[in-house]
């Protein structure tokens, strides 16, 4: 079995709603990501998927649970301090909206090389600019764009710059929070291919967060389905799509739009009754790789 890179155990995080009430954004979520795989986390808005990503990146501090990266608990201040360099360079995040996550007043070259400059790392390719040029070519863009500013770029190009910036630190784990949701169909395909290329040829590990199940099915090795902060099902992609067990997963899969008029109109949809959602059940293993919330859903 492959080495585990990220091990999330019993992660909990809530946001205060006022009146002493809390929104349980993430409620006891556990999963492992192996080195070199693309792990997809899917869910609808408000399911807590972005909160998980932010906890993994130390942007939010979880209230309970632990996140082990290479065996180091990133939520433990002492362990974090001892491994700060490693944790800050090896984990990188890419956000959905690159028009707001990139500084509009910085040149592409400076944006890409900034992590190196900030961390006082000697650029492996001579100068910061050479490094930026290399990374830009790496994500499939011409170095001529080095002196442009983000507003001059298209959405797809900006997202490539964001990816290049993340790659500058030569990370092992890339957390991609809805990286293609804001892009057009034809550009989406380019970025999806880039992710695949980065994984297959260069061995990057991804935590890929998305709401588009068609993309997840195409790109990810294993998938976890989040619903209202609970992980309801987790399985290898093919297994999950072929044999969904949890009623919410079934409803979600049956809602994926199919770009085929006859089949799209002919098929039946499962409806998931929100009131019937039981969040108390245990996470049960139904096959070596397939887990589902609530034991009674499991088939023999």
């Amino acid at each position: 079995m492959c080495e585990t890179l990220l091990d999330v155990r019993g992660l909990c995080h809530s946001f205060p709603l006022g009146a002493g009430r809390y929104l349980r954004a993430v409620d006891g979520v556990s999963f492992r990501i192996r080195k070199g795989e693309i792990f997809g986390l899917v869910g609808e808005s408000g399911s807590g998927k972005s909160t998980v990503a932010r906890c993994v990146m130390n942007i939010l501090r979880p209230q309970a649970g632990s996140i082990l990266y290479r065996g180091v608990d990133v939520c433990d201040p002492a362990q974090f301090r001892a491994n700060r360099r490693m944790l800050q360079t090896e984990r990188q995040i890419i956000f959905q909206d690159s028009s707001s996550s990139l500084d509009q007043r910085m040149k592409v070259a400076d944006i890409i090389a900034e992590p190196l400059a900030v961390n006082h790392i000697v650029p492996p390719r001579g100068s910061l600019r050479a490094e930026a040029a290399f990374q830009l070519r790496y994500v499939g863009m011409d170095p001529a764009y080095l002196d442009r500013y983000p507003p001059e770029l298209s959405g797809g190009q900006r997202q490539r710059v964001a990816i290049a910036r993340a790659l500058t630190m030569e990370p092992s784990l890339l957390v991609a929070d809805e990286p293609i949701a804001a892009l057009d169909v034809s550009i989406q395909a380019q970025i999806i291919n880039l992710f695949r290329h980065l994984q297959a040829e260069h061995g990057f590990t991804f935590l890929f967060i998305a709401h588009d199940l068609a993309v997840v099915r195409y790109l990810c090795d294993r998938v976890g389905v989040l619903y209202r902060g609970k992980l309801v099902e987790m399985a290898p992609t093919k297994e999950l799509f072929d044999r969904p067990l949890h009623p919410y997963t079934k409803a979600l899969l049956s809602a994926i739009p199919i770009p085929d008029p006859r089949r799209e109109r002919a098929r039946t949809r499962f409806h998931f009754d929100e009131a019937a959602f039981d969040r108390t059940g245990g996470f049960v293993q139904v096959s070596p790789e397939h887990f589902v919330l609530g034991g009674k859903e499991a088939e023999p």
């Binding site: 709401h211 739009p257 085929d260």
Partner: protein
């Protein structure tokens, strides 16, 4: 049937419509020479990427473009009424009754400081200012019920932020339908919604439109939305309609290389383990638009003439047209890479 009678039957008749925006970088030709029509009871999907001019086209039909836009058209008629020369005052009297619109983000398209009921009531009163208070309330509750908002009297007094995304979009739909429009324009109505809600809203849109016998223009970037709801589909690229036909023709017998590219780049249609087909490059700027076919430089089937002369719409079937030189009798035969039986 004479041409005039034919025209009168059309709910929407657009002929050679162009929209140009003045910008510091020069005039942007957002919509170029678009012609389309719509019959009552029909849904036409307009599919295209951002910046292809689909939203400008809708706003031109509603005459809701900003003052910096210049609109030119040979024909622009809604339900037989030529709206080209109408003043803002005349248009006010027609909007809502003749045509109304639903927008992408239901959060921003509702006034956050007003109760849902009051906002729908306002739309009801827009064309019947003298209506009695309880009659308005009855009509609002009826509209809320029609768009599937459960327990209308309880929801009547809620504010937009109290509702979920799907509920908000239903409220927006109720506002759009308040004056029984003949034509409904929906600009990306499901894009901001969750997958499980998207389908419900599309089905609702279709049911209501069928029930009222109205026509609908459904603007989307998502081919699956067109596949689900539209009778006919038009594909737009760089301000032009590059292919238009019945939805089945577009999905099972596409003729334009851009349509091929769009279909091939969908992950749900991709073969397992193979890289996704991606249309290379990106859409051109439209100030000014490139010479010849705007898609030529991204088109691997481009012919020499594509760089010189924009192709006209070639007829494929009585309902199916595509603007590509590949359909010219002199063009080399090209095997269609997608379409037919789609494998999922």
């Amino acid at each position: 049937m004479t041409a005039d009678a034919d025209r009168a039957e059309k709910l929407l008749d657009v002929g050679r419509l162009s929209v140009t925006f003045a910008s510091p970088a020069g005039a942007v030709e957002a919509v170029r020479d678009v012609s389309l029509d719509l019959a009552p009871g029909e849904i036409l999907a307009i599919v295209g990427e951002s910046g292809c001019g689909k939203s400008a086209l809708c706003r031109a039909i509603m005459k809701l473009l900003p003052a910096s836009a210049r609109v030119q058209a040979d024909r622009l008629a809604v339900a037989g009424t030529d709206i080209r020369g109408l003043s803002e005052r005349d248009m006010c009297a027609l909007r809502g009754r003749l045509c109304s619109m639903v927008f992408q983000d239901p959060m921003t398209s509702l006034d956050p400081t007003m109760r849902i009921g009051a906002q729908i009531a306002e739309a009801v009163l827009a064309h019947e200012p003298g209506m009695k208070k309880d009659a308005v309330r009855r009509r609002v509750l009826e509209l809320m019920d029609m768009v599937g908002i459960e327990d209308p009297p309880a929801r009547y007094r809620l504010y937009p932020h109290d509702l979920s995304g799907g509920m908000r979009q239903r409220a927006v739909l109720a506002i759009a339908l308040a004056s029984r429009p003949r034509l409904l324009i929906a600009d990306e109505p499901t894009t901001a919604l969750d997958v499980t809600v998207q389908g419900q809203i599309l089905d609702l849109l279709r049911d209501i439109q069928r029930g009222l016998g109205a026509g609908a223009v459904l603007v989307t970037h998502d081919l699956a939305v067109a596949a689900r709801a539209a009778d006919r589909t038009a594909v737009m690229y760089a301000g032009r309609i590059v292919e238009i036909g019945t939805t089945e023709e577009i999905f099972y017998d596409p003729r334009h290389p851009y349509t091929w590219g769009l279909l091939a780049s969908l992950p749900s249609l991709a073969a397992e383990g193979r890289p996704l087909y991606a249309i290379p490059g990106m859409p051109p700027t439209l100030s000014p638009p490139p010479k010849g076919d705007a898609f030529a430089c991204r088109n691997r089937y481009a012919l020499a003439i594509d760089y010189d002369q924009a192709p006209p719409l070639f007829q494929v079937s009585p309902t199916h047209y595509a603007a590509t030189w590949l359909l010219d009798p002199r063009a080399p035969a090209v095997a269609r890479p997608v379409g037919g039986e789609l494998h999922v």
